[in-house]
């Protein structure tokens, strides 16, 4: 038990600082974003589990030889209100504090996840209502060809148009596919040709299809729960960047690379159009800084595609991710 607690503590420390720093700079994320994504999700799980597990296992040491039996014993003592047993087992206050810490931490993480998801869902619903009232459905994405912007033919996840000159495209995930929507601004339609717009819509559809909002949600909650922990900060940024790259890859399956590059470059706010908004504290200013790096990384990746990641290397990352998920879980349940 003491070794398990020590192992989990070491794992927690590794997952807290050095591992996320290493991974967020690792270049393999450019050639194979999905393996990097897998590793991030595994690290989040292993990090959370070991952070809660380390104090839990330490606190359980006097109560039994394995985690399940010790938990059962603690529950039995709690029900029996048996203070004498604590003395017989040489339970020190440190053990009790450790147990409380584990329970509080677990509660904090779960509650934050719950609160983040309900708040996010409410904000999305509000946003969706507003978009519905303000937008018009996309028609004539390409006047020459006379076809609507991709997807609008089905009428389900049609792109909606918001009347504003800032070039913008984004998607709003819904609980069901029918409730998800892709939104384009008039500025985007003005800036891009039909082929480029199709690529943009395909990019957004990939976000929705691959349910990227679920992959980012846990990291958002993590960050809110423990903002001082480097993992959560690096993790949130890195996972957002990876979703963008995954969406680019999805768009590249059916659309030319040039279209994506053009839409990234030409769709960017031209200086004359947005000077008054971007200058100081306009709506674009704050968002700009964060996204500048992501956009630059995406552009570089599109302009000079990184070499394919080797099969063995990819396999190694997958195995590492799998063991991060399985090993701490199994040890808590069995040892």
């Amino acid at each position: 038990m003491i070794w398990l607690a020590a192992f989990l503590a070491v794992l927690a420390v590794l997952m807290a600082a050095p591992a996320p720093r290493l991974l967020s700079g690792a270049t393999f994320r450019l050639s194979s974003p999905w393996t990097a994504m897998l590793l991030w999700q595994a690290m989040a799980l292993a990090g959370g589990l070991s952070l809660i597990g380390a104090p839990l296992v330490f606190g359980l040491i006097p109560f039994g030889d394995s985690v399940p039996s010790a938990v059962a014993e603690v529950l039995r003592l709690v029900r029996a209100v048996d203070y004498g047993a604590l003395e017989d087992r040489h339970v020190s206050p440190v053990h009790l504090f450790s147990l409380c810490l584990a329970v509080l931490l677990a509660g904090h993480l779960l509650l934050t996840l719950l609160r983040t998801s309900t708040r996010t869902l409410a904000a999305r619903r509000r946003h969706r209502d507003l978009v519905r009232l303000l937008s018009s459905p996309a028609h004539g994405g390409s006047p020459e060809r006379g076809t609507p912007v991709e997807g609008s033919g089905t009428g389900r996840r049609a792109a909606l148009i918001i009347d504003h000159e800032i070039p913008l495209a984004y998607c709003l995930p819904g609980v069901t596919a029918a409730r998800s929507m892709t939104v384009l601004s008039q500025g985007m339609l003005d800036a891009l040709g039909a082929e480029d717009l199709d690529a943009v819509v395909a990019h957004e559809h990939t976000h929705l299809q691959q349910r990227h909002h679920l992959l980012t949600m846990a990291f958002e909650a993590w960050y809110r729960a423990l903002p001082w922990l480097p993992t959560t900060r690096y993790g949130r940024e890195a996972v957002l960047e990876l979703t963008e790259m995954l969406a680019d890859d999805g768009a590249l399956r059916d659309h030319p690379r040039e279209a994506l590059v053009r839409s990234l470059a030409l769709g960017a706010p031209a200086s004359e159009a947005t000077t008054d908004e971007t200058s100081s504290d306009g709506p674009l200013a704050a968002a700009h800084h964060d996204d500048l790096q992501v956009t630059a990384a995406r552009l570089r990746r599109l302009l000079s595609p990184p070499p394919q990641m080797g099969r063995t290397a990819r396999g190694a990352v997958v195995v590492l991710a799998a063991s991060l998920m399985v090993v701490p879980t199994a040890m808590l349940l069995i040892v």
Binding site: R124, L130, I166, L172, A287, T295
Partner: protein
């Protein structure tokens, strides 16, 4: 028969385009396919709940006007998308995060040459 969602949109666009507050009956007149007044009232109370319209209870019949202009709502929406206000997580992502002006100019050159 238009869905409630479509009616909400039509009602809002009439209210936004009209300078004065309207009653449910006046609204019904301006809606092309003439839904029942009760339907219009349902739509209005839904919009009121969403904070989109305000009701003036001073006179009967009650008169309705938009809570904010179309432009103000659009700016709210953009702020949310661009992350200065509200919840950035609400909107999954924006395609255009932003390229610096010089980067964009350099790219435009490349693209035009190509």
């Amino acid at each position: 028969m238009a869905s409630l969602g479509e009616l909400e949109r039509s009602v809002m666009s009439i209210l936004w385009d009209d300078s004065e507050a309207l009653s449910a009956n006046e609204l019904r007149g301006r809606l092309g396919d003439g839904p029942a007044v009760t339907t219009v009232l349902t739509v209005l109370s839904r919009l009121e709940k969403k904070g989109m319209v305000v009701r003036d209870r001073g006179l009967r019949p009650h008169r309705y006007s938009p809570a904010a202009s179309r432009e103000e709502h659009t700016v709210d929406l953009l702020n949310e998308v661009l992350g200065t206000a509200g919840d950035r997580q609400a909107v999954l992502t924006r395609f255009i995060g932003g390229v610096s002006d010089s980067e964009a100019a350099a790219l435009r050159r490349i693209l035009q040459e190509g």
